[in-house]
Structures are given as C-alpha cells and as structure tokens.
C-alpha cells in the first residue's frame, strides 16, 4: 500500500474512532447520572488543562513581548542616565570654567608672522587692542605655552615666543614640585632650561613641566616641557635641561590668555614698592 494512502487510512480510522467514542460516551452520559457527573468532571479537567496550556502559550509569547518592552524601557532609562551624567559633567566643566574665567579670559588668534631663526624670536598675532588684547597676556596653544604678548596695536599684537632669550616663564616640575624659571637654551628649537634649581633637589627625567600659576600671565598647569638631564649651572645651583612640548614649526593658531585682575595686582605691587 502506498505510504500516503496508508497515512490517509490511519487518519480516517482515527477520526472514525474518535467520533464513535464520543458517541459512546454520550450514550453512557445519558444513561447514568453517576457516569454523567464523572464524564462532566473529566471533560472539565480536560478543558481546564486545555485552557491552562493555552494560557501558558499565550503567557510565553506575552513574556517575549514584555521582555522586549522591558529592554526598550531599559534602553530609554540608560539613555536618560547618560543624559544626566553628561549634564553633570557639563555642569562640572562649567563650574571649572566659571572659576577659571574669574581669573583668566581667552581670545583665539591666528599667527600672522613668527620668527624662528634669531636669538630673540617674536610672533605677530591678528588680534589687537580692538579685540581686547593688552600687553603681558600669555600666548598658548593646545601643545603648551607659546609666548607672551609684549606690545599691542589696534589690530595686531607683538609677542615674544619661548624661543626668545629674553623670555622667562615661571614653571613647576610636576603638579606640585619645584618652581623655577624656564628659559630657552638659545640654540635648539625644542630645548630649554629650568634655571636656579638647588643642587639638593632631585629632578627625575621625563617629568612634565607645567606653568606654576605664580604670575598673572599664565594660568597654572599648562604643560610646557619635559625634563631631561640635570647639569651644574654654577657652584650654588643646577639647571635642568627640558624639551619643549611646543613645536614652533607647525604652529598656526594660538589662544591669547589674559588675566583681568592684572591691573589690580600690578597696582597693588606698585603701591607696596612705593611704600617701601
């Protein structure tokens, strides 16, 4: 017998069996009360099982839906959390900026001209007194300290770069180390010295040198150079060779940093000098 025909016969026989069995149960149910109750109870059990299975299946699919909903909600909450964290960070940054702004203001500027070949190198910037620039303002870039504004025209400023033997910047080794003036070595484009270092001070190589913040020109903690070797300066002091972080050959855009309290500080200093 072909397999499909055999399957068909099996299904047909099963169907006939089910119909006849149901008929027999119906006969039995109608012929005796006890059997009627028993069959009703049995059918209720079957129905309950059926409903329970249906509920389980529905619950399973609903669970999947709920999982997706929870995942979406979780994602939204994480997003919100990230937004709040970002806000917190921005608030913190704003607070820092506000604190810094209390002492310093920043003006972006473009280098118009810069010399690199003389002993007294200088820089010309495209911002002048019309832009609020005044002398003794610091010049920095993202790489570190560039120089100091020396004179100001209406539209341009003239400054000395770190590659100028007349310029000295108050520097600190590390975040809280020795403070000493940093000057250019007068020869190399990337080398300078920390001068007047007491001989007993040990300066490790590779330490970053920052602005000390002890002047009204630069805010503290702007990186300037990295320490190299220590050498004798004279009998009483040592000098520490440093490699300047600022690459003057690729410099184009700078930031002029100004201390609004400079006039007040200068006046105070002058007053004390006259009193003495």
């Amino acid at each position: 017998m072909p397999r499909s025909k055999e399957t068909g016969t099996l299904i047909f026989t099963a169907a006939v069996f089910i119909v006849m069995e149901v008929a027999a149960l119906a006969l039995l149910s109608h012929s005796a009360t006890l059997q009627n109750i028993w069959l009703n109870r049995f059918s209720h059990r079957i129905m309950a099982l059926n409903w329970q299975t249906g509920e389980n299946v529905r619950g399973h699919f609903k669970l999947r839906e709920q999982n997706e909903q929870l995942a979406a909600e979780n994602f939204a909450l994480r997003e919100e959390l990230r937004r709040y964290q970002e806000l917190d960070r921005l608030e913190e940054e704003e607070a820092h900026l506000a604190a810094a702004k209390g002492r310093f203001t920043y003006i972006p500027a473009t280098i118009v001209k810069m010399s690199r070949n003389s002993l007294h190198n200088y820089i010309i910037l495209d911002k002048g007194s019309d832009d609020g620039v005044y002398p003794h303002s610091g010049i920095i870039s993202e790489q570190g300290v560039v120089g100091v504004v020396q004179a100001v025209g209406r539209r341009y400023s003239y400054g000395l770069t770190l590659m100028n033997s007349f310029l000295s910047v108050s520097a600190r080794v590390g975040r809280d180390g020795l403070v000493a003036p940093l000057v250019w070595d007068g020869v190399s484009t990337r080398r300078g010295f920390l001068k007047g270092v007491p001989p007993h001070m040990e300066i490790p190589e590779g330490e970053t040198v920052y602005t000390s913040g002890f002047s009204f020109v630069f805010p503290p903690d702007i990186p300037i150079a990295v320490t190299q070797g220590v050498s004798k300066e004279d009998g009483a002091t040592n000098s520490v060779a440093v490699e300047l972080l600022q690459d003057f050959s690729s410099l184009r855009y700078v930031t002029i940093v100004q201390n609004p309290s400079r006039a007040e500080i200068t006046a105070l200093e002058k007053e004390r000098e006259e009193a003495q």
């Binding site: 047909f12 069996f17 006849m20 027999a24 006969l27 039995l28 149910s29 059997q35 028993w38």
Partner: protein, 169 residues
Amino acid sequence: MTDTAYFLRLALLLVLQVLLLNFFPFSQYLVLSFLPAAILCVPARHGGVFALAVAFVAGFLTDFFADGMLGLTVCALLPVAYARTWILRLIFGADFFDREEDLSLRRNGFWPVLLAVFLATLLFFLIYVQADGAGTRPLWFNLLRTLLSTLVSTFLSLFTVNLFSPERQ
C-alpha cells in the same frame, strides 16, 4: 473465515455474553467479557473502520440487552477495536494483515495469541472498570477488579478465539 461465519459466531457470543451479565453475576470483583477477543478475531482482510463498526454494534447490543448502562461496553470496546491493528502487528509481525490471516491458536501459537488476547482484554477492562466506577470506587478496588476480570476473561477468551478459528469452518 467468511463474514457470515464470523457474524454468526459473534451473535452466538453476544447471546452468551448477555446471559452471563444478566444471570450470572459472579462477584463484584469479577466481570466476564469475551468481546475483546471477538474483536481481535475480526477477519484480517477488514480494516480498522470495519472493526470499529463491529465493536460499536456489538457493544451497543450487549449494553442494550444486558442489565447495564447503555454505552459502557461500547466505550470500552471501541479502543480495543482501534488498537487491534497495533496489537496484532506488534505480536504477529507487520505482515499479519498483508497475509490476511485470521487469528488461530494452532497457526499463531498459544502464547502469542494469549498475549494478544490479554492485551486486548486488559485495555477493555481498564476502561470498563473505570467508567463503571465513575470515580466513586477506591483505586485498589478498581485495580483488583481489572486484574481479576482480565485474567479470567483472557483464559475464557481462548475458547472464543478457538470458536472463531478458521480451522473450525
């Protein structure tokens, strides 16, 4: 076996079954039934539907003429008719129906026939006793009744098989 011969023997067996149920109530633990064996002996050339129809009619007539509940024997006998194919194939091989053999103690052997009759009778009484009790009787009672009825009916059913045997024609 011809259908006429089969139905004649079945009618005789039905009369005997009705008489047994009506006038010889042996014990509440024991019910005698030859009908499962009679269903097993439905000629092999007939399929499952034929056996189901025979089971339905035989069960109905037994219930109708016996002093019992209408539908009780029918609902216990129908599963036997449905399982007949499986039981016979399981014990006598898949080609039992292909050979269109009728059940015979001599040809099929005593023990295989006994086993087939036992399975059919057990199935019958499992349903019959349960439906008759309708959940009102304890389990041990039902089990004892099923076991006793199955064992005694199985041995008596061997005569039924012999009655339906093709060698008797």
